[in-house]
């Protein structure tokens, strides 16, 4: 039994040295990736919705092109994207190793995913609300910000939560190619050195992290959702 070997937990030097560093790395990866995803994915999702056939400024050719790029980004498995992006990552952060380097493929992979979710959330906004505000003589910019984004905000926050939870599992994958964080620790010690206790600790921390993110997401949605 893994849990029966209780003494091992306190004796294992990994717990004193690496575990908290790895947790901090995972947290940093997530925070920076989330910021990048929100900063680029939200405008991309808004753009997708605006030029879509039901949007405020329908433009079929533009929509098809952006749609294609977004789907292209979404269809590449993350582990392959990570490797394919190494030159780009080196260019952006100066290295292909460590948690900073992992942020780049994580963001690139998650931005199109989040953009699609944003588009879906915006599509859910009743067209009657848009018409009502159009009747006030409002500009498209006003409608986009004050009606579409504001009314879809609970959905958008929910989408961001889903995206961040997915990101957590991706950070673990990044561990296989020297990405740092809890995933790397689990692979280096838990898998390669057969330290079951490290594996368990990593799993527990990752699960706790996911639960924390979900709780934050749900709490924010509760605060802003007046439907």
């Amino acid at each position: 039994m893994i849990l029966a070997s209780g003494e091992m937990f306190l004796d294992n030097p990994v717990f004193h040295g690496r575990l908290w560093d790895a947790t901090a790395e995972t947290l940093l990866m997530m925070v920076f990736t989330t910021l990048a995803v929100a900063a680029f994915g939200l405008p991309l999702g808004v753009l997708l919705h605006s030029v879509s056939p039901k949007g405020l400024t329908p433009a079929a050719p533009v929509y098809r092109v952006i749609s294609l790029i977004v789907d292209f980004g979404r269809s590449i498995p993350f582990i392959i994207l990570m490797i394919a992006l190494i030159p780009f990552t080196r260019f952006v952060v100066g290295s292909a190793l460590g948690w900073q380097a992992t942020v780049v493929p994580l963001a690139v992979g998650a931005i199109p995913f989040f953009a699609r979710l944003v588009q879906n959330a915006l599509r859910e906004v009743d067209s009657g609300k848009v018409e009502a505000v159009q009747m006030m003589g409002a500009s498209k910019g006003h409608i986009t910000y004050h009606v579409l984004i504001r009314e879809a905000l609970p959905g958008i926050v929910g989408a961001l939560t889903v995206t961040v939870v997915t990101l957590i599992s991706y950070t673990a994958m990044a561990g296989t190619i020297g990405g740092g964080g809890l995933g790397a620790l689990a692979i280096d010690y838990g898998y390669r050195r057969y330290q079951s206790d490290t594996m368990v600790a990593c799993i527990v921390l990752l699960v706790a992290l996911v639960a924390l993110v979900q709780w934050i997401g749900d709490t924010v949605v509760r605060k802003i959702d007046h439907r």
Partner: protein, 355 residues
Amino acid sequence: MIELRAVSKVYPGGVTALDSVDLSIGAGEIHGIVGRSGAGKSTLIRCLTGLDPATSGEITIDGVNLGTARGAALMKARRKIGMVFQHVNLLDSRTAEKNIAHPLEVAGVPAAERKRRVDELLELVGLSDRRKNYPAQLSGGQKQRVGIARALAAEPRVLLCDEPTSALDSATTRQILSLIRSLRDRLGITVVIITHEMSVVREICDSVSLLSEGRIERSGPLLEVIQDTGSPLSKELISLPPTAHLQADATIVEALVAAEGGLADVGELFALLGRHGFSAQVAAGTIETIQGRQVGRLHFTPGDRDEAERMAAVLREAGVHAELTTAATVQREDAARQEDNEAHDGRDGQEGGAR
């Protein structure tokens, strides 16, 4: 105030939703536009607001041609029009007061002035104690009050109402309608109400238009339209309960008390029939008071064709519209109307489900 000249709307694919519509609505009037499902009512209101521009023709509201206005000019013109929707379309993320203030924000009214105006409007629709509530915390009738206050916020000269009471129960409907009327009286605005409910027209409209297959079939002051006795619109406005219990070949005398120079009310009609010794049964009857005048449509079932003829003659002499018909004809008309109402309810149900 509102002038339509030869307005047509043809959708891509060749469907003609509006076919050369002419309509004139005077300032301060409450005008009802009625018609069956698919008659073009929704298209007409979308053309009036420029949400869906007309294919051809001229639409002038308060001197501004909405038919040709685009971009900034259209945005400006829309601020002169308040719009009330069937599903209210309030923003769920805003409280009642923020929803009402929204058109003022769009128009760039300073915050202090906005607050003063919102207070006034909340007072006007009787919701001052609900200002901090979100739409989800309001009842259907309260939401529509907020919707009306919002429509009036930017002090429009025209209020367009698209099925404003179709999603409300009958008691709330009456409250909303009397609110609309009192607002018209106090503010002098022109109101257009699109509806499939004849009761709405009877209750508050000064004038009415019947839209049928994209054309205005009949338009005029309410009493005048009702007095146009044989017309379908008159029959719709003062409609009778179904008479399924009658034998199909039974003769019916239909009488309408509404005419200028005719009998003052239904009581006089019975007195008249009594004086002439008729004792016919009343199969169905509807009596309404419209604009302070009693209007009644009655179906009598005399014993035979001969008695029916004599009865109709007496009534006509007294200036009452009377015509002979049979139960079969009446029942057929009932069935058609029933079908149309069901079509309407079915559509509303779908809309509700999609939300």
